[in-house]
Symmetry: C2
């Protein structure tokens, strides 16, 4: 079958399919094609999606936080290496106009007991060098739409990797701010979209709280090294329409069995993120009242 | 001032003041004397108690989960080394008849960024060898009262340190069981006190949930390597009286400043413990209905 595949416009973290490198592709029907890596990460992510999508105990309420899985398809890899199997997933930013996106890797620990010593040591080092250990999460990538004139603010990978506690607080405020025409400035973000995007019924905070409730109880999976993706459309808010605020979990190459124990590492980090976001919502409401 | 000091009867973890060793003492007025260690642990724990006890923002609702602090007093150390300053704390088992006690060290990580590399490595090793990493907590010590005939079940330190997931589940069930006359047997615990001790208003589960709510919000302290102590009196339950179920936080030698971030490590582990206990309560209720 012929598929019109192209490099995703709104990817913010992970390997990118540019300059002859292997990375995900999208089509114009709303699918996201993630190449299966040669090591066991690909097969592990496929195993997760296969199992998860067939579990009747996962309600639609929770399932909506995960990209829909459409199976595996072989297509030409982006690095020109020829045909390669790809996971066919829902493109979570499909149809969105200038979406602002932030990718947050959850957990103060990205390694897990079953991993090799080498992997453990590399992860531990990175967790200590980034905000993971301190905050229980780290920002892995982001792009924030400023407006027609300024376009997107998308800091370099190296900049994102060196984010401190203060940077994270700044980015989470800037994500819902309007005064971004000079996107690299240190202007204090106005958080004028905080209630529209983070707050309210159906806002990001309420979605994160629903996820939290599930994580307090589910003991099926440990979501090691997974990310929470937060998306919304600024122009939509400016027009007085719904923000399209959405939370999705992505990246399941290191998911392990829960064996009857909750994922306390993910849950702790998620609660920390929730605290940051609810602080922003509360501060904004205070200013407006 | 003369004080009638003696070795505590119901200590389940930590250094014991026996055989000429340095350890805590109690008097018959309800005080617990914890010797200040020579390294910085003593001064750090004193600094925590001093600060915590003077903070007006800590409500009595939360304060009741901490031993009351009565200052520092110099008394003869239990190891015969002469006068030594001791923290004077509330003896949390004072006046209790045959209390059953379990000491649970919370957190999948007992180390913290500011610690020395040597300390980090020792803690990390122990966290991986015990259930800390897997469950987000480990049992540090326990004594369970079986009855007149069997007395207390108090496994050796080495046995406790080697507890697996299955052992932890077993102990948390056994803690609220009646069929303990042969305390070392593998008889399936009957959990007949589960609703009286863990469940109900004022039970251990509801106390843990109150603590959880506080940890979701408080960003003042990170309670590294702290324990939750759970206590109750079996004979009191058998007489149809209140179980005296109580949760206390203890051991603050490694508390650090929260700096505006929640203690996601403690919170994650606490949620994991809550899940274990609520499973026991729910299973028991199912059997009885």
């Amino acid at each position: 079958m012929f598929l019109l595949s192209q490099v995703p416009d709104h990817q913010v973290a992970g390997h990118e399919a540019r300059d002859g490198k292997l990375g995900p592709l999208v089509d114009d029907l709303g699918c996201f094609y993630k190449p299966l890596q040669d090591d066991d990460r690909g097969s592990k992510e496929l195993a997760f999606y296969t199992k998860f999508s067939s579990m009747p105990e996962i309600t639609s309420h929770i399932r909506r936080f995960f990209p829909t899985f459409h199976g595996v398809q072989t297509l030409a890899a982006s690095d020109g290496s020829g045909p390669r199997p790809h996971l066919v997933l829902q493109d979570v930013v499909f149809g969105r106009v200038n979406p602002s996106v932030v990718d947050i890797k959850i957990g103060s620990r990205t390694w897990y007991p079953q991993a090799s010593e080498d992997y453990v040591n590399r992860c531990l080092k990175k967790d200590r060098e980034t905000t993971s250990l301190l905050l229980g999460f780290r920002i892995s990538g982001l792009k924030i739409y400023g407006g027609d004139r300024s376009g997107f603010w998308k800091p370099e990978k190296k900049v994102v990797q060196s984010f401190t506690l203060q940077d994270v607080r700044f980015v989470l405020r800037k994500f819902v701010s309007c005064n971004l025409e000079t996107p690299d400035s240190v202007t204090d973000p106005d958080c004028s979209f905080a209630s529209a995007v983070y707050g309210g019924t159906g806002g990001i905070l309420s979605q994160l709280l629903e996820l939290k409730e599930w994580f307090e109880d589910q003991t099926m999976f440990h979501f090691n090294s997974c990310s929470v993706l937060m998306v919304y459309e600024k122009e939509s808010v400016l027009r007085g329409e719904t923000s399209g605020a959405e939370v999705k979990l992505i990246d399941f190459a290191h998911v392990t069995e829960g064996d009857g124990v909750i994922d306390h590492n993910f849950l702790g980090g998620l609660c920390s993120l929730i605290k940051f976001i609810s602080d922003i919502v509360n501060d904004t409401e205070k200013c407006w009242n």
